[in-house]
Subunit: 233 residues, 2 copies
Protein backbone atom coordinates (compact mmCIF):
# COMPACT_ATOMS: atom_id res chain seq x y z
CA UNK A 1 0.00 0.00 0.00
CA UNK A 2 1.09 3.48 -0.64
CA UNK A 3 2.58 5.67 1.94
CA UNK A 4 -0.31 8.04 1.72
CA UNK A 5 -2.90 5.65 2.88
CA UNK A 6 -2.20 3.28 5.62
CA UNK A 7 0.58 5.16 7.16
CA UNK A 8 0.11 3.08 10.17
CA UNK A 9 -1.69 5.98 11.66
CA UNK A 10 -4.65 3.85 11.98
CA UNK A 11 -5.81 4.69 15.40
CA UNK A 12 -7.91 1.63 15.79
CA UNK A 13 -4.82 -0.42 15.44
CA UNK A 14 -2.36 1.84 17.11
CA UNK A 15 -3.97 2.32 20.42
CA UNK A 16 -5.19 -1.08 21.28
CA UNK A 17 -1.48 -1.72 21.37
CA UNK A 18 0.49 -3.65 18.87
CA UNK A 19 2.77 -5.63 21.15
CA UNK A 20 -0.07 -7.34 22.85
CA UNK A 21 2.05 -8.64 25.64
CA UNK A 22 2.24 -5.23 27.21
CA UNK A 23 -1.30 -4.23 26.56
CA UNK A 24 -3.02 -5.79 29.53
CA UNK A 25 -0.83 -3.89 31.89
CA UNK A 26 -1.32 -0.51 30.26
CA UNK A 27 -5.01 -1.10 29.66
CA UNK A 28 -5.58 -2.16 33.21
CA UNK A 29 -3.73 0.78 34.67
CA UNK A 30 -5.43 3.28 32.42
CA UNK A 31 -8.85 1.80 32.92
CA UNK A 32 -8.80 2.98 36.47
CA UNK A 33 -8.73 6.67 35.57
CA UNK A 34 -10.87 6.50 32.44
CA UNK A 35 -14.40 7.82 32.18
CA UNK A 36 -16.85 7.75 29.29
CA UNK A 37 -17.98 10.99 27.71
CA UNK A 38 -20.59 11.71 25.10
CA UNK A 39 -20.62 14.60 22.66
CA UNK A 40 -23.58 15.50 20.49
CA UNK A 41 -23.22 16.38 16.83
CA UNK A 42 -21.70 19.86 16.43
CA UNK A 43 -20.61 19.98 20.05
CA UNK A 44 -17.08 21.14 20.80
CA UNK A 45 -14.92 19.04 23.09
CA UNK A 46 -12.21 21.66 23.43
CA UNK A 47 -11.01 24.89 21.87
CA UNK A 48 -7.62 25.98 20.66
CA UNK A 49 -5.98 27.73 23.59
CA UNK A 50 -8.06 26.10 26.30
CA UNK A 51 -6.30 24.47 29.16
CA UNK A 52 -5.55 20.89 28.16
CA UNK A 53 -6.91 18.90 31.05
CA UNK A 54 -7.45 15.54 29.45
CA UNK A 55 -6.54 13.06 26.80
CA UNK A 56 -9.36 11.49 24.75
CA UNK A 57 -9.80 8.36 22.72
CA UNK A 58 -12.67 8.09 20.26
CA UNK A 59 -14.88 5.04 20.74
CA UNK A 60 -17.56 5.72 18.15
CA UNK A 61 -18.39 8.65 15.91
CA UNK A 62 -16.33 11.20 14.04
CA UNK A 63 -14.52 14.34 15.18
CA UNK A 64 -12.92 17.27 13.42
CA UNK A 65 -9.61 18.65 14.69
CA UNK A 66 -8.89 22.17 13.44
CA UNK A 67 -6.95 25.39 13.81
CA UNK A 68 -8.14 28.82 12.76
CA UNK A 69 -5.98 31.79 11.84
CA UNK A 70 -6.64 35.26 13.12
CA UNK A 71 -7.96 36.29 9.71
CA UNK A 72 -10.44 33.43 9.60
CA UNK A 73 -8.62 30.97 7.39
CA UNK A 74 -9.16 27.55 8.84
CA UNK A 75 -7.18 24.35 8.58
CA UNK A 76 -8.55 20.96 9.44
CA UNK A 77 -5.67 19.08 11.00
CA UNK A 78 -7.41 15.73 11.04
CA UNK A 79 -10.63 13.78 11.18
CA UNK A 80 -10.82 11.22 13.95
CA UNK A 81 -12.76 7.97 13.91
CA UNK A 82 -13.02 5.10 16.37
CA UNK A 83 -9.59 4.51 17.84
CA UNK A 84 -8.35 8.02 17.11
CA UNK A 85 -7.05 10.15 19.92
CA UNK A 86 -6.24 13.75 20.82
CA UNK A 87 -5.23 15.86 23.75
CA UNK A 88 -1.60 14.84 23.99
CA UNK A 89 -0.09 18.26 23.65
CA UNK A 90 3.26 19.37 24.84
CA UNK A 91 2.34 22.51 26.71
CA UNK A 92 -0.67 22.61 28.96
CA UNK A 93 -3.01 24.17 26.45
CA UNK A 94 -4.93 22.57 23.60
CA UNK A 95 -3.35 23.41 20.27
CA UNK A 96 -6.45 22.64 18.25
CA UNK A 97 -10.21 22.90 18.40
CA UNK A 98 -12.00 19.56 18.44
CA UNK A 99 -15.65 19.24 17.46
CA UNK A 100 -18.04 16.35 16.94
CA UNK A 101 -19.25 15.78 13.39
CA UNK A 102 -21.61 13.07 14.58
CA UNK A 103 -22.83 11.99 17.97
CA UNK A 104 -19.72 10.63 19.59
CA UNK A 105 -18.61 8.45 22.48
CA UNK A 106 -15.20 9.15 23.95
CA UNK A 107 -13.02 7.78 26.68
CA UNK A 108 -11.51 10.50 28.78
CA UNK A 109 -8.21 10.23 30.65
CA UNK A 110 -7.46 13.11 33.03
CA UNK A 111 -4.19 14.66 32.03
CA UNK A 112 -2.58 14.83 35.46
CA UNK A 113 -3.35 11.25 36.22
CA UNK A 114 -2.36 10.00 32.80
CA UNK A 115 0.94 11.84 32.99
CA UNK A 116 1.54 10.52 36.48
CA UNK A 117 0.98 6.98 35.28
CA UNK A 118 3.20 7.45 32.23
CA UNK A 119 5.84 8.84 34.52
CA UNK A 120 6.31 5.54 36.26
CA UNK A 121 4.75 2.88 34.02
CA UNK A 122 6.87 2.10 30.95
CA UNK A 123 4.09 0.10 29.29
CA UNK A 124 1.73 3.07 29.29
CA UNK A 125 4.43 5.51 28.32
CA UNK A 126 5.55 3.39 25.40
CA UNK A 127 2.02 2.94 24.23
CA UNK A 128 1.54 6.68 24.16
CA UNK A 129 4.89 7.15 22.52
CA UNK A 130 4.04 4.75 19.72
CA UNK A 131 0.69 6.41 19.18
CA UNK A 132 2.25 9.85 18.90
CA UNK A 133 4.93 8.44 16.65
CA UNK A 134 2.34 7.03 14.28
CA UNK A 135 0.56 10.37 14.24
CA UNK A 136 3.84 12.09 13.38
CA UNK A 137 4.48 9.78 10.44
CA UNK A 138 0.97 10.42 9.20
CA UNK A 139 1.45 14.17 9.56
CA UNK A 140 4.62 14.01 7.47
CA UNK A 141 2.86 12.17 4.69
CA UNK A 142 0.07 14.71 4.88
CA UNK A 143 2.49 17.57 4.51
CA UNK A 144 3.75 16.00 1.31
CA UNK A 145 0.18 15.73 0.09
CA UNK A 146 -0.42 19.40 0.81
CA UNK A 147 2.87 20.54 -0.64
CA UNK A 148 3.02 18.52 -3.81
CA UNK A 149 -0.19 16.84 -4.92
CA UNK A 150 -2.83 18.24 -7.28
CA UNK A 151 -6.47 18.62 -6.30
CA UNK A 152 -7.41 15.32 -7.93
CA UNK A 153 -4.55 13.50 -6.27
CA UNK A 154 -5.44 14.95 -2.90
CA UNK A 155 -9.06 13.94 -3.10
CA UNK A 156 -8.22 10.44 -4.33
CA UNK A 157 -5.75 10.02 -1.48
CA UNK A 158 -8.32 11.35 0.95
CA UNK A 159 -11.00 8.89 -0.13
CA UNK A 160 -8.66 5.92 0.01
CA UNK A 161 -7.29 6.99 3.37
CA UNK A 162 -10.82 7.36 4.68
CA UNK A 163 -11.69 3.91 3.43
CA UNK A 164 -8.67 2.47 5.19
CA UNK A 165 -9.37 4.28 8.43
CA UNK A 166 -13.05 3.57 8.70
CA UNK A 167 -12.58 -0.03 7.66
CA UNK A 168 -15.06 0.45 4.84
CA UNK A 169 -14.38 -1.45 1.68
CA UNK A 170 -16.16 0.54 -0.98
CA UNK A 171 -18.99 2.46 0.55
CA UNK A 172 -17.92 5.09 3.02
CA UNK A 173 -19.68 7.59 5.20
CA UNK A 174 -18.83 11.26 4.69
CA UNK A 175 -19.81 12.87 7.97
CA UNK A 176 -17.93 16.03 7.02
CA UNK A 177 -19.05 18.83 4.69
CA UNK A 178 -17.28 20.02 1.54
CA UNK A 179 -15.95 22.93 3.55
CA UNK A 180 -14.37 20.52 6.00
CA UNK A 181 -12.84 18.47 3.21
CA UNK A 182 -11.56 21.62 1.55
CA UNK A 183 -10.00 22.86 4.75
CA UNK A 184 -8.46 19.44 5.27
CA UNK A 185 -6.98 19.20 1.78
CA UNK A 186 -6.01 22.83 1.36
CA UNK A 187 -8.63 23.47 -1.33
CA UNK A 188 -11.84 25.50 -1.65
CA UNK A 189 -15.30 23.95 -1.50
CA UNK A 190 -15.80 24.68 -5.20
CA UNK A 191 -12.66 22.79 -6.13
CA UNK A 192 -13.61 19.89 -3.91
CA UNK A 193 -17.07 19.78 -5.43
CA UNK A 194 -15.77 19.99 -8.99
CA UNK A 195 -13.28 17.23 -8.32
CA UNK A 196 -15.98 15.01 -6.87
CA UNK A 197 -17.99 15.68 -10.02
CA UNK A 198 -15.04 14.75 -12.23
CA UNK A 199 -14.61 11.45 -10.42
CA UNK A 200 -18.33 10.79 -10.69
CA UNK A 201 -18.58 11.55 -14.40
CA UNK A 202 -15.60 9.28 -15.00
CA UNK A 203 -17.48 6.57 -13.19
CA UNK A 204 -14.85 6.24 -10.49
CA UNK A 205 -17.16 6.94 -7.60
CA UNK A 206 -20.86 7.06 -6.88
CA UNK A 207 -22.18 9.86 -4.72
CA UNK A 208 -24.94 8.69 -2.46
CA UNK A 209 -27.54 10.81 -0.79
CA UNK A 210 -25.23 13.51 0.43
CA UNK A 211 -23.56 11.69 3.28
CA UNK A 212 -21.71 8.82 1.66
CA UNK A 213 -19.61 7.83 -1.34
CA UNK A 214 -19.07 4.50 -2.99
CA UNK A 215 -15.66 3.92 -4.48
CA UNK A 216 -16.13 2.18 -7.81
CA UNK A 217 -12.72 2.35 -9.47
CA UNK A 218 -10.36 1.80 -6.58
CA UNK A 219 -7.55 1.11 -9.04
CA UNK A 220 -7.97 4.47 -10.77
CA UNK A 221 -8.07 6.34 -7.51
CA UNK A 222 -5.05 4.36 -6.40
CA UNK A 223 -3.07 5.28 -9.49
CA UNK A 224 -3.76 8.95 -8.87
CA UNK A 225 -2.70 9.04 -5.26
CA UNK A 226 -0.15 6.31 -5.62
CA UNK A 227 1.49 7.77 -8.68
CA UNK A 228 1.80 10.60 -6.32
CA UNK A 229 2.93 8.96 -3.24
CA UNK A 230 4.96 5.89 -3.86
CA UNK A 231 8.55 6.20 -2.88
CA UNK A 232 11.21 6.38 -5.51
CA UNK A 233 14.17 4.03 -5.36
Amino acid sequence: MSALHHTGYDPARVIPLAPAARAPSAEAVLGRVATTIRAAKHEAICHDGDEADAYFRVETGCLRVSKTLSDGRRHVVDFLFAGGFFGLTQGDTCDCTVEALTDTVLTRFPRRQLEAIAERDPATCNMLRRAVNAALSAAQVRSMLLARLSAEERLAAFLLDLAGRTGATRRLPLPMTRVDIGDYLGLTIETVSRTFTKFRTRGWIHLGASQDVTLVALDRLGELSEGGVLQAA
Copy 2:
Protein backbone atom coordinates in the same frame (compact mmCIF):
# COMPACT_ATOMS: atom_id res chain seq x y z
CA MET B 1 23.83 18.65 28.05
CA SER B 2 21.25 15.99 28.47
CA ALA B 3 21.13 13.10 26.11
CA LEU B 4 18.19 13.08 23.80
CA HIS B 5 16.98 16.56 23.94
CA HIS B 6 15.93 19.10 21.48
CA THR B 7 13.28 18.33 19.03
CA GLY B 8 14.86 20.61 16.59
CA TYR B 9 11.84 22.82 16.75
CA ASP B 10 12.30 24.61 19.90
CA PRO B 11 15.11 22.58 21.15
CA ALA B 12 16.44 24.41 24.05
CA ARG B 13 13.05 24.74 25.60
CA VAL B 14 11.51 21.40 24.95
CA ILE B 15 14.03 18.89 25.97
CA PRO B 16 15.97 20.05 28.91
CA LEU B 17 12.90 18.52 30.41
CA ALA B 18 10.70 20.44 32.66
CA PRO B 19 10.93 18.07 35.57
CA ALA B 20 14.69 18.35 35.60
CA ALA B 21 15.01 15.71 38.23
CA ARG B 22 14.58 12.95 35.68
CA ALA B 23 17.02 14.14 33.08
CA PRO B 24 20.19 12.86 34.71
CA SER B 25 18.85 9.35 34.81
CA ALA B 26 17.91 9.19 31.15
CA GLU B 27 21.09 10.99 30.30
CA ALA B 28 23.30 8.50 32.07
CA VAL B 29 21.52 5.47 30.72
CA LEU B 30 21.59 6.65 27.14
CA GLY B 31 25.17 7.79 27.28
CA ARG B 32 26.25 4.18 27.55
CA VAL B 33 24.94 3.20 24.12
CA ALA B 34 25.71 6.42 22.26
CA THR B 35 28.45 6.82 19.70
CA THR B 36 29.57 9.83 17.71
CA ILE B 37 29.23 9.85 13.92
CA ARG B 38 30.38 12.30 11.32
CA ALA B 39 28.80 12.97 7.95
CA ALA B 40 30.43 15.04 5.23
CA LYS B 41 28.52 17.64 3.25
CA HIS B 42 26.18 15.92 0.74
CA GLU B 43 26.56 12.57 2.43
CA ALA B 44 23.40 10.57 3.10
CA ILE B 45 22.84 9.16 6.57
CA CYS B 46 19.93 6.99 5.52
CA HIS B 47 17.50 6.45 2.68
CA ASP B 48 13.75 6.15 2.62
CA GLY B 49 12.98 2.47 2.90
CA ASP B 50 16.27 1.45 4.49
CA GLU B 51 16.16 -0.57 7.64
CA ALA B 52 15.97 1.83 10.54
CA ASP B 53 18.73 0.67 12.80
CA ALA B 54 19.40 3.76 14.81
CA TYR B 55 18.16 7.02 16.20
CA PHE B 56 20.29 10.14 15.68
CA ARG B 57 20.64 13.48 17.35
CA VAL B 58 22.36 16.35 15.54
CA GLU B 59 25.25 17.94 17.45
CA THR B 60 26.50 20.39 14.86
CA GLY B 61 25.69 21.05 11.22
CA CYS B 62 22.53 20.93 9.15
CA LEU B 63 20.60 18.02 7.64
CA ARG B 64 17.82 17.72 5.11
CA VAL B 65 15.02 15.22 5.73
CA SER B 66 13.05 14.40 2.58
CA LYS B 67 10.70 12.08 0.75
CA THR B 68 10.59 11.60 -3.01
CA LEU B 69 7.61 10.44 -5.06
CA SER B 70 7.91 7.86 -7.78
CA ASP B 71 7.54 10.55 -10.42
CA GLY B 72 10.37 12.60 -8.98
CA ARG B 73 8.45 15.19 -7.02
CA ARG B 74 10.28 15.75 -3.79
CA HIS B 75 9.18 17.06 -0.45
CA VAL B 76 11.53 18.29 2.21
CA VAL B 77 9.98 17.22 5.48
CA ASP B 78 12.34 19.21 7.63
CA PHE B 79 15.75 20.78 8.08
CA LEU B 80 17.57 19.73 11.23
CA PHE B 81 20.05 21.80 13.20
CA ALA B 82 21.92 21.18 16.44
CA GLY B 83 19.53 19.45 18.80
CA GLY B 84 17.32 18.07 16.05
CA PHE B 85 16.71 14.35 15.84
CA PHE B 86 15.47 11.67 13.49
CA GLY B 87 15.18 7.92 13.21
CA LEU B 88 12.29 7.41 15.59
CA THR B 89 10.02 5.68 13.16
CA GLN B 90 7.23 3.35 13.97
CA GLY B 91 7.99 0.46 11.68
CA ASP B 92 11.51 -0.80 11.28
CA THR B 93 12.28 1.11 8.12
CA CYS B 94 13.29 4.73 7.64
CA ASP B 95 10.41 6.76 6.27
CA CYS B 96 12.59 9.56 4.97
CA THR B 97 15.95 10.16 3.34
CA VAL B 98 18.35 12.17 5.48
CA GLU B 99 21.31 13.98 3.96
CA ALA B 100 23.94 16.37 5.29
CA LEU B 101 23.80 19.91 3.94
CA THR B 102 27.00 20.77 5.78
CA ASP B 103 29.64 18.69 7.52
CA THR B 104 27.79 17.29 10.46
CA VAL B 105 28.42 15.66 13.81
CA LEU B 106 25.76 13.28 15.10
CA THR B 107 25.19 11.15 18.14
CA ARG B 108 23.96 7.70 17.26
CA PHE B 109 21.78 5.51 19.47
CA PRO B 110 21.33 1.92 18.24
CA ARG B 111 17.66 1.28 17.77
CA ARG B 112 17.45 -2.07 19.53
CA GLN B 113 19.27 -0.81 22.57
CA LEU B 114 17.37 2.45 22.70
CA GLU B 115 14.05 0.63 22.46
CA ALA B 116 15.15 -1.82 25.11
CA ILE B 117 16.00 1.03 27.45
CA ALA B 118 12.75 2.86 26.73
CA GLU B 119 10.91 -0.36 27.40
CA ARG B 120 11.92 -0.37 31.04
CA ASP B 121 13.07 3.14 31.86
CA PRO B 122 10.17 5.60 32.15
CA ALA B 123 12.51 8.59 32.22
CA THR B 124 13.94 7.76 28.83
CA CYS B 125 10.60 6.80 27.38
CA ASN B 126 8.97 10.01 28.53
CA MET B 127 11.80 12.06 27.17
CA LEU B 128 11.37 10.45 23.78
CA ARG B 129 7.64 10.83 23.99
CA ARG B 130 7.91 14.55 24.68
CA ALA B 131 10.35 15.00 21.83
CA VAL B 132 8.06 13.25 19.36
CA ASN B 133 5.14 15.20 20.71
CA ALA B 134 6.88 18.48 20.05
CA ALA B 135 7.71 17.33 16.53
CA LEU B 136 4.05 16.46 15.98
CA SER B 137 2.89 19.90 17.05
CA ALA B 138 5.41 21.48 14.71
CA ALA B 139 4.25 19.23 11.87
CA GLN B 140 0.66 20.34 12.40
CA VAL B 141 1.62 23.98 12.20
CA ARG B 142 3.59 23.23 9.07
CA SER B 143 0.63 21.55 7.44
CA MET B 144 -1.38 24.69 8.03
CA LEU B 145 1.40 26.71 6.43
CA LEU B 146 1.35 24.46 3.37
CA ALA B 147 -2.41 24.33 3.14
CA ARG B 148 -3.29 27.96 3.67
CA LEU B 149 -0.44 30.46 3.44
CA SER B 150 0.69 32.38 0.34
CA ALA B 151 4.22 32.22 -1.01
CA GLU B 152 5.21 35.39 0.80
CA GLU B 153 3.72 34.22 4.05
CA ARG B 154 5.47 30.89 3.77
CA LEU B 155 8.87 32.39 3.14
CA ALA B 156 8.46 34.91 5.95
CA ALA B 157 7.44 32.15 8.33
CA PHE B 158 10.36 30.05 7.14
CA LEU B 159 12.92 32.78 7.75
CA LEU B 160 11.60 33.57 11.21
CA ASP B 161 11.42 29.90 12.12
CA LEU B 162 14.97 29.44 10.93
CA ALA B 163 16.10 32.37 13.02
CA GLY B 164 14.41 30.87 16.07
CA ARG B 165 15.84 27.44 15.50
CA THR B 166 19.41 28.42 14.80
CA GLY B 167 19.42 30.92 17.61
CA ALA B 168 20.46 33.63 15.17
CA THR B 169 19.12 37.07 15.85
CA ARG B 170 19.19 38.73 12.50
CA ARG B 171 21.86 37.17 10.34
CA LEU B 172 21.21 33.55 9.49
CA PRO B 173 23.02 30.90 7.54
CA LEU B 174 21.19 29.36 4.58
CA PRO B 175 22.94 26.04 4.08
CA MET B 176 20.14 24.88 1.79
CA THR B 177 19.59 25.74 -1.88
CA ARG B 178 16.55 27.41 -3.40
CA VAL B 179 15.41 23.99 -4.57
CA ASP B 180 15.52 22.74 -0.99
CA ILE B 181 13.58 25.73 0.27
CA GLY B 182 11.04 25.32 -2.51
CA ASP B 183 10.59 21.65 -1.73
CA TYR B 184 10.22 22.53 1.93
CA LEU B 185 7.63 25.25 1.39
CA GLY B 186 5.74 23.59 -1.44
CA LEU B 187 6.88 26.17 -4.01
CA THR B 188 9.10 26.20 -7.09
CA ILE B 189 12.62 27.62 -7.09
CA GLU B 190 11.48 30.48 -9.27
CA THR B 191 8.78 31.48 -6.83
CA VAL B 192 11.19 31.24 -3.91
CA SER B 193 13.71 33.36 -5.77
CA ARG B 194 11.15 35.96 -6.77
CA THR B 195 9.84 36.17 -3.24
CA PHE B 196 13.35 36.65 -1.87
CA THR B 197 13.77 39.43 -4.39
CA LYS B 198 10.51 41.07 -3.31
CA PHE B 199 11.61 41.04 0.32
CA ARG B 200 14.99 42.45 -0.67
CA THR B 201 13.61 45.27 -2.79
CA ARG B 202 11.25 46.20 0.03
CA GLY B 203 14.27 46.42 2.28
CA TRP B 204 13.04 43.70 4.59
CA ILE B 205 16.05 41.45 4.21
CA HIS B 206 19.58 41.63 2.96
CA LEU B 207 20.92 38.76 0.90
CA GLY B 208 24.55 38.04 1.67
CA ALA B 209 27.02 36.22 -0.47
CA SER B 210 24.80 33.32 -1.39
CA GLN B 211 24.78 31.42 1.89
CA ASP B 212 23.19 33.77 4.37
CA VAL B 213 20.41 36.30 4.89
CA THR B 214 20.09 39.19 7.27
CA LEU B 215 16.62 39.95 8.50
CA VAL B 216 16.17 43.70 8.52
CA ALA B 217 12.45 44.24 9.06
CA LEU B 218 11.57 41.53 11.55
CA ASP B 219 8.29 43.27 12.27
CA ARG B 220 7.19 43.18 8.63
CA LEU B 221 8.09 39.54 8.26
CA GLY B 222 6.31 38.89 11.51
CA GLU B 223 3.12 40.53 10.33
CA LEU B 224 3.13 38.41 7.22
CA SER B 225 3.64 35.06 8.89
CA GLU B 226 1.81 35.99 12.04
CA GLY B 227 -1.21 37.29 10.24
CA GLY B 228 -0.97 33.79 9.02
CA VAL B 229 0.03 31.79 12.00
CA LEU B 230 -1.41 33.42 15.06
CA GLN B 231 -4.32 31.64 16.58
CA ALA B 232 -7.74 33.16 16.47
CA ALA B 233 -9.60 33.48 19.76
